[in-house]
């Protein structure tokens, strides 16, 4: 560091980051000479909380690890629990899980496309791709009842079935999206300013990618041919045909190409699932207490490999739940990619791994040690605060609660 160097804090609060993380950049003019990452601003104590609650409660908690890949985490967790319990999940349930998983991938990749556009100052792309994302969000809402946090899983199967009326609607939406995706592929390959801003930026060679343990589209854009869906198949991925998209660009442009092409593969998978949907029950009955045992479950989330390890001790609560979100594996990669690059490339390089810091930071207690007790709310306090807040705006459940004897009132 010479005397012309200076430090720029990117985060914990910064327009380029949608979630609080801190990157401290040492700059030499417009160039980044080094960077340190500080994670952990988002810890919510989910792993500890999982040990204190029952499996079915944990499923809903795990779903809230991340808003975007909620189905990924929930499915990954539930697979491990089902493996320990030795449950034979009906085929139809597995197909529905796969369908929701691919719809989630579509929504996540479209979301990424918009964010990437925004990071390079191309807001039109953001507006367009997020408008199209509404199509898939509507489909998810129709299938599961929710736009995010679908809660379609349950131990031993899924909670909601697909009816015959749903299928043509999904197919129609997929047709629309496929047409739009083709348009984005055309934009990505023809628009000069996009190519100028993306190519050659955030280089990650094949060897570095393997060495640093990159996952997901970040790895595949460096030519690393890894996809858990194919290598370690789960749900019904063994029954569907799809290509694992890899790219040799090794830069942000490659990552964009991989993601838009993966969208096309997802449409293919969704069509196959709907064409071959088997009949039968959608869930088997699961025991409340899961026998002692351990299992490791892997899942290809939109951002990369998601890993859940569950250890059961024979009670209705797990002994240990470990979550390894894909972003944690990619953070090291970001530091490597940013070295000696321009400051202007920082947002898109960080965005290119599709970071999800709420996934990455999930542990630790509800109290914030930095702020002391003044800002800390206990659960009952928070509960009554929310009831009071809604009462002020004219929504009062207290009468109703008395009738149903809801605890805490």
């Amino acid at each position: 560091m010479d005397r012309y160097d200076f430090k720029i804090p990117i985060g914990p609060q910064h327009p380029a980051l949608k979630e609080p993380e801190s990157f401290l950049l040492t700059m030499h003019g417009e160039k980044i000479s080094s960077m340190t990452v500080r994670l952990g601003y988002n810890h919510r104590g989910i792993e500890k909380a999982c040990e204190l609650q029952t499996y079915i409660q944990d499923m809903y908690l795990i779903e809230r690890v991340c808003g975007i890949c909620s189905h990924s985490h929930a499915t990954c967790f539930i697979q491990a629990v089902e493996e320990i319990a030795g449950l034979q999940v009906p085929k139809r349930a597995l197909y529905i899980r796969t369908l929701v998983a691919e719809l989630e991938r579509v929504h996540s990749h479209l979301l990424w496309l918009g964010v990437a556009g925004h990071e390079i100052g191309f807001d039109t792309l953001l507006m367009y791709s997020w408008r199209d994302r509404e199509v898939v969000m509507d489909i998810l809402a129709m299938l599961t009842g929710n736009r995010v946090n679908y809660s379609v899983n349950t131990i031993g199967g899924v909670r909601r079935d697909i009816t015959a009326e749903h299928i043509p609607q999904i197919l129609k939406a997929i047709d629309t999206l496929e047409e739009r995706t083709k348009y984005y592929i055309q934009i990505a390959t023809e628009e000069t300013t996009i190519i100028k801003r993306l190519s050659g930026v955030g280089m990650l060679s094949y060897d570095d990618g393997v060495h640093l343990g990159a996952v997901g589209p970040t790895a595949r854009a460096s030519g690393i041919d890894r996809d858990v869906r194919r290598d370690d198949p789960y749900a019904s991925y063994e029954d569907v045909k799809f290509a694992v998209i890899t790219d040799k660009h090794c830069d942000v442009y490659g990552r964009a190409v991989v993601r838009v092409l993966e969208l096309m593969e997802s449409y293919k998978i969704i069509r196959q699932i709907l064409a071959n949907l088997p009949d039968g029950p959608i869930a088997v009955k699961a025991p409340r207490k899961i026998p002692a045992g351990e299992a490791l479950s892997r899942y290809e989330a939109p951002r990369g490999e998601d890993v859940h390890y569950v250890k059961a001790n024979g009670t209705d609560k797990p002994e240990r739940v470990k979550v390894r979100a894909p972003t944690l594996a990619n953070v090291q990669v970001v530091a490597h990619m940013l070295k000696d690059r321009y400051l202007a490339d920082m947002p898109i390089v960080i965005a290119a791994i599709d970071p999800c810091f709420s996934c990455t930071d999930r542990l630790i207690s509800v109290t914030d040690a930095g702020k002391g007790t003044k800002n800390t709310m206990t659960w009952p306090q928070l509960h009554s605060y929310s009831i009071e807040w809604h009462r002020k705006s004219g929504i009062d459940f207290s009468e109703l609660n008395k009738k149903f004897k809801v605890p805490g009132n």
Partner: protein, 313 residues
């Protein structure tokens, strides 16, 4: 005397320019929204933003130089207003004119960028200092092409007075076609001057928050914001007067409407540009301006010289 005050303060001076600036901002935002398939703001949004900012607290950072910090928004505001008086709007005669007012207008339009630089630099925050450095680097990239692109038509007309230029092109309308390339160059330079995408590098929000304006708030920010709006109108009026010099002889009513249409046309071109491209990096912007735009402007200057020689023969 009252007439002069009326002209300076109300029409076509301060009040008109402010309102037109806010209107142009609305037009720009609404058009952009429509192009991006959004609803866009209601018509009073820019004014509401302005009033809201006026009501907010002024925060001056401890480490900032308070004099420079507070002076800069006012300077930006007055410089753009002054430049407006030398531009012919709906008649061939501007409010005030002399031979050489073209140079004055161009220099007055440089002042807002300098105020961004000084204001950002003296705010002493990393983000605003990087923004300041970037805006001054960018200034050197677009200023030369802009000067050359406006100098070429002036040379053709044989005058450095904007008012006399409109008179000249009024009598030689076909020569305007020759300036079309210069018009495009001037538009590109104006995008840089107004710091709009793809040249919004000094205020790239995903990198350096708001660049030079990061530390500004309240009234000072309001003045900067309205100065930028006014700069957009003045810059567009300049381009309209130089490159679209027709319709000056139809009297006030039609001339005035024509003027509004011309300015909004230029603003529309600017918003179109910012919806269809991504932001460039500062090095790419410099390369683009020096390797493509500036040589093109030089070439047009030579072409104009040759054509002028042929005509006068």
């Amino acid at each position: 005397m009252i007439n002069v005050f009326f002209n300076i303060l109300i029409f076509p001076g301060l009040i008109f320019l402010s309102i037109f600036g806010l209107g142009a901002e609305y037009f720009d935002r609404k058009l952009c929204a429509k192009l991006q398939n959004r609803v866009g703001p209601p018509w009073f949004q820019p004014l509401a933003d302005f009033i809201k900012l006026l009501a907010k607290e002024n925060v001056i950072p401890n480490q900032a130089d308070p004099t420079v910090f507070t002076l800069m928004p006012v300077l930006a505001f007055t410089a753009t207003l002054t430049a407006f008086f030398y531009i012919p709007l709906w008649q061939t005669k501007a409010l005030s004119s002399f031979n050489g007012d073209l140079i004055v207008v161009l220099y007055l339009l440089t002042i807002p960028t300098l105020t961004f630089f000084l204001g950002g630099w003296y705010a002493r925050s990393v983000f605003s200092m990087i923004g300041a450095a970037r805006s001054i680097i960018q200034l050197f990239a677009y200023e030369i092409p802009l000067f050359l692109a406006i100098l070429a038509p002036a040379m053709m007309a044989g005058t450095l007075s904007l008012s006399e230029m409109t008179v000249f092109y009024g009598s030689h309308p076909w020569l305007v076609l020759l300036n079309l390339v210069d018009f495009v160059i001037a538009l590109v330079a104006l995008l840089g001057k107004l710091e709009k995408t793809p040249f919004d590098i000094p205020e790239a929000e995903t990198e350096i928050v708001a660049g030079c304006l990061t530390e500004y708030s309240g009234r000072l920010l309001a003045f900067f914001r309205i100065a930028i709006d006014m700069e957009m109108v003045v810059g567009s009026s300049l381009l309209a007067a130089v490159f679209l010099p027709f319709g000056f002889n139809f009297g006030f009513a039609i001339g005035f409407i024509l003027y509004l249409v011309k300015v909004l046309f230029v603003v529309a071109l600017l918003s179109l540009a910012r919806t269809i491209v991504a932001r460039l990096r500062i090095d790419q912007m410099i390369n683009f301006c020096w390797k493509i735009v500036a040589p093109a402007a030089f070439l047009m200057l030579v072409v104009d010289l040759v054509v002028k020689g042929l005509i006068s023969r």
